[in-house]
Amino acid sequence: MRRRGPKLLDRVGHWLDRQLQIAVETLGRLMRTPLPTGMTIAVIGITLALPIALYIMTDNLRAMAGGWDQTAAISLFLHQDIDDDAAQHVAAQLRERPELARVDLISREQALDEFRTLGGFAEALSQLTSNPLPIVLAIYPQAAHSSSERLEALHAELLTWPEVDFARMDTLWLQRFQAIIDLAQRAVVLLGALLGLGVLLIVGNTIRLEILNRRVEIEIMELVGATASFIRRPFLYAGVWYGLLGGITAWILVNLAVLLLQQPVSRLASLYRSEFPLSGLGPAETLLVLGGSILFSLIGSWVAVNRHLRGAEPG
């Protein structure tokens, strides 16, 4: 009894040795038939790459939209006859409201300058004798007050002010855009679950065929006293290998696509005078992809093994 401790450790060590050995043997067996194994792995990889790529796309779009949060929520265009002092007064009134984070006053001169540098209107503007641009107040609400209902209410109220000629809501489209991305991302997650189920079926079917191919061997192993778990184990390990290698394939495919799109995207961004680094799979996401892939194919092989290997059952 005193020797039980080390003995137990010995047994755990022996067990781990066996598991490792079976895992390596199973990998060796898969490698001996490179073509079918490679094809199964490629199918898993492509199946998983599709939802991952779509997810990354929506993630990048979201990051891009996040960069536009600096846009004013409402732009107030004041009447032409309002001068700078009166405009300052209106701005001060607005700044007192607690729901607003910031109010910027853009004078006629500033607006004209901006037009000259940005829009390529320099030629046309130099023809003008007077500045046709109104004073604009750019309004940024507090984050807690930026829901579309509150903005609508604020927008409606400001329109009734006598100094205000016209008010434009700038962020509504942005919110709509974000809602669309949210929807798309949810759809992508659903698609991912569906294709994960596909991986489960692919691996399940592959393992099923493997079991049928090795029927004779399995029978003989049962004759010489193999336990059910001894016979099942290599098939379950095969499932883990398919999942791991398929997941790695998907990872490579997605990151390759990101790499290939990096340049065209930054060219496109530069045309919009902005920078946009396309992001691939981070370490946490990589782990999630590999873990998910292994999980789905392990379940697939588990189902196949349970359906087709019933153990040493006397007739």
């Binding site: 192993m221 049962e222 004759l223 006293g225 001894f230 040493a312 006397p314």
Partner: protein
Amino acid sequence: MIRFEHVFKRYPERGEALSDLSFVMESGEMAFLTGHSGAGKSTLLRLIGLLERPTRGQVLVNGRNLATLPQRKIPYHRREIGMIFQDNRLLPDRSVFDNVALPLVVAGLGYKEIGRRVRAALDQVGLLARERAHPVALSGGEQQRVGIARAVVARPPLVLADEPTGNLDPDLSREIFSLFERFNQVGVTLLIATHDLNLVMSLPYRILTLTGGRLTGDTGGDW
């Protein structure tokens, strides 16, 4: 070692294969099971190895009642029995060594121990030099000897053989039987099904005769 008590085995398609079979085999005994094909020899052996269960009656092996043996214990029961088949049931894609090693691998023995025991078993059947060969490269007699090595490699107390010489000529058969005698001399219990009556009669062992699923002859060791 083996005790049959009023054992019946009925197949839905073929009808009664064994009926009211009772006999006892002591530990260390060697016996032949004879009868025409279809007399129930294979069925009897399959019941002992728990490849099948009887329709009625009890089979006891090594003091263990097979009727009450739970499913998960069946592999351990089979590890105590070496089984030899007419078609030898070797794996064609594995070497002789790997084929013989199978019962030990299944039992979870270490590499060194497996190597030692497999070579000892191959030595006993005279095939030590062919351990790297594949079964297809061997003659029928050699293949059967590989099957025998596999059956005894784990040193089971009981060995069952179903027509082990069915495909072999008389000289090779005699060789196989003398191999069995040597195992019996070291205490292994053997039950060998065969229809090679001439050979069986020339040997001093108990003969059980099956006719149409019934035990119709038993020399009971008093030959």
